[in-house]
């Protein structure tokens, strides 16, 4: 049901009051305690919230989401939150009173990290969830937060209406003190324009990649790589569009063969039931790749597609688990290949052993990649992940924009 026009304004006014009456009077230590309590409740395997989460089916079912959820929960410890705060803000810093969050529907837990970060800077949150069933996890966050942390219940409001509904979007844009928007570049542009030069942070379209290092044991990293690609139908900003295998063509073939089996295993016989538009995109991608001389692997149900490219140039995927794989001789070749897409890079998962201080890793960071991890961890970023390389907390402070 769409909210009444005035109810958004009323909700935000109530949040503003609660920001003043509750959040400003709560110490940051206490807020950290609340978040840890919330995380502890969710970490409990027998928690009723876990049980409720297991009933969520589509589009993001528990079997898939728990992986990202546990990655986030793992990072919600007292020490890590204190460290995050210490790195970015001082105790007398003030976040905006009310932050509006416009949440995209392509991955399930965006609202969780966005609201928790706002709380750390003592901002109240009005959250516009995606329409339809994509909002299920966001709603569950809201309900569980209300129940587990009643002390701050009045500081978070979840709502839902169809994106692009002019009145509601405008009301939200007019009323909140800072707007965080997650979505397509068109959505970001439209909301930014409605904000009319007021404080705004947009998280738009980004892509990721994976690299298999020369010494990596392919069989050890392949299941994780399949997970990185397959989760959320490859639609998140941390979904790899391209996999670079450092080595020769034999190694590439071995990787592709193993990846095909791993993707089948990940999906475990569950067909994705593609709609017409998606089927056309996938089929077109397959055929056009064939026409350009690439070799295409995939199943008949269009659940996944691997394209063995003859040219290693970075290629955007139409998503829906269509991934390009190419071999390169050295790790250093990657940097020139990534240059054309430098502005939209987000994450990189690496198969094989590496250290944070390795030249390869530091150069990837220099290229703007915000999250580097082992294969299998790409869809489980911690709370401290600086999405789009934007500061996590300090960007939410007044006078920060």
């Amino acid at each position: 049901m769409e909210p009444a026009y005035n109810s958004i304004l009323k909700s935000i006014e109530a949040l503003r009051i609660n920001h003043h009456d509750i959040l400003l009077k709560t110490s940051r230590e206490q807020i950290i305690d609340y978040i840890v309590r919330f995380a502890d409740e969710w970490r409990n395997a027998q928690s009723p919230w876990r049980m409720q989460a297991k009933t969520i089916e589509s589009p993001f079912d528990y079997k898939e989401v728990f992986y990202t959820l546990d990655g986030l929960l793992e990072s919600l410890t007292r020490d890590s939150l204190k460290e995050l705060i210490a790195q970015e803000i001082t105790d007398n810093c003030a976040g905006y009173p009310v932050i509006g969050h416009v949440i995209a529907g392509n991955t399930p837990l965006i609202a969780w990290t966005s609201v928790l970060r706002a709380l750390l800077v003592k901002s109240a949150s009005f959250v516009k969830l995606p329409s339809g069933s994509a909002s299920a996890w966001g709603k569950l966050f809201g309900i569980s937060w209300l129940s587990i942390i009643p002390e701050l219940a009045g500081c978070v409001v979840m709502d839902q209406w169809a994106g692009g509904t002019a009145n509601q979007d405008k009301q939200l844009c007019d009323s909140c003190d800072l707007l965080l928007a997650y979505g397509s570049d068109d959505t970001i542009k439209s909301l930014k324009s409605l904000r009319n030069d007021r404080s705004f942070i947009g998280y738009g379209h980004r892509v990721s990649l994976s690299v298999i290092l020369p010494g990596a044991d392919i069989m050890q990293c392949i299941d994780g790589l399949a997970r990185d690609i397959c989760m959320y139908d490859q639609s998140g900003c941390l979904s790899p569009h391209m996999v670079y295998v450092i080595g020769d063509d034999d190694r590439l073939s071995c990787c592709i063969s193993a990846l095909s089996k791993a993707m089948d295993a990940y999906l475990a016989g569950n067909t994705t039931n593609r709609d017409i538009d998606t089927a056309v995109r996938i089929n077109n991608s397959r055929i056009l790749s064939t026409m350009e001389g690439s070799v295409v692997f995939g199943n008949d149900d269009l659940d996944w597609t691997i394209i063995q490219r003859t040219c290693p140039d970075f290629i955007f995927s139409p998503t829906h688990r269509v991934v390009s794989v190419a071999s390169i001789k050295t790790a250093e070749e990657i940097f020139s290949l990534l240059l054309p897409v430098k502005d939209v890079l987000q994450g990189c998962s690496i198969g094989g052993a590496y250290n944070e201080n390795d030249y390869f890793v530091t150069e990837l960071k220099n290229m703007g990649i915000s999250y580097i991890c082992k294969t299998g961890k790409l869809q489980a970023p911690p709370m401290s992940w600086p999405e789009d390389n934007k500061p996590i907390l300090s960007s939410l402070l007044k006078n920060a924009i």
């Binding site: 593609r274 017409i276 538009d277 089927a279 056309v280 995109r281 089929n283 077109n284 055929i287 056009l288 064939t290 026409m291 350009e292 001389g293 295409v296 008949d300 269009l302």
Partner: protein
Amino acid sequence: MDSLIERILTFIDSAIYDDQAFNDLALAIFTRQYRLIEPYRRFCDTQNASPDNVTDWRQIPAAPVAAFKQFDLSCVPLPDAKTVYYSSGTTGPSTSKHYMDDAAVRIYYASLKRGFYNVSSDFKNLPIWAIMQTPANAPNSSLSAMLGALNAERFYWDNNEELYNDLAGLNTPIILFGTAFAFVGYFDSTPERQQLRLPKGSIIVETGGFKGRSREISREELYGLFETRLGVRENDCYSEYGMSEMASQFYSNGLNPVKYGPPWVRTRIIDPITRTEANPEEKGLLAHYDLANYNSLIAIQTEDMGVFKDTGFILLGRVENAEIRGCSLTMEELWNRRITPS
């Protein structure tokens, strides 16, 4: 090879439905395109389709229309393809390019003329006025080329007032041919004018649709305007469905949505997920086999959904997120330029 060109032209000129002759020509054209267009051959090879084993036109692999954006699909070297038609819009990675050498242009002109005048005997001997750019000003527009080939007497572009005055002064019937968006632009820019009554026997041909980029009106509303503002009734209005990637066109009459093609074109309806032929009553993606696509690809898998009806098909819409394309776009660019405050 010249004999193939002549055979195609003879078949077009005969305009008779001859399945065997169609099949023979289709296979000959496929053989040529398989041998000369490398990206297409690669695709055919993955489908195990080659001149050695394809015996029926239905077995000819239909390449996605998007291939015209990504590849230069030409049997002749590009310098020899002196004519190239672009899908509407500025050139770039999202523009289709349809290359034609002299032979292909000859076949294209033959097919469009025969196809046009086959629609109705009423078309014969009527002068044509076109609401679009001249071929000279839009050398890469297949629609402008088509109207040039049909010897359109006049072209109107961004001068609706002149068009109105000229229409008002008509004494004899004409065919008025324009994109749907151009017609809407004309009606919107002349709101205060009195309603015209084109001379009896006048015909309207509209094409292109609205493509979801700006103001859209229903076909019913558009045809209502043809009657109220131009005095041309529904039965004398026709819709042309074509694309820059295809040499031939389809036509429907009035508000009857069924589109009919000429005898040198065949259409299949393809299940978008399995890419096999859909059951006869089922909707699916339209794949056209056009003998007039001599230099490019005879078999094109479009992103248009449709369903068979009688001996034609009904268009059900474009697959979403397929790039917006079509002739209406050039009028829109013009319109937006005018309505944007300076």
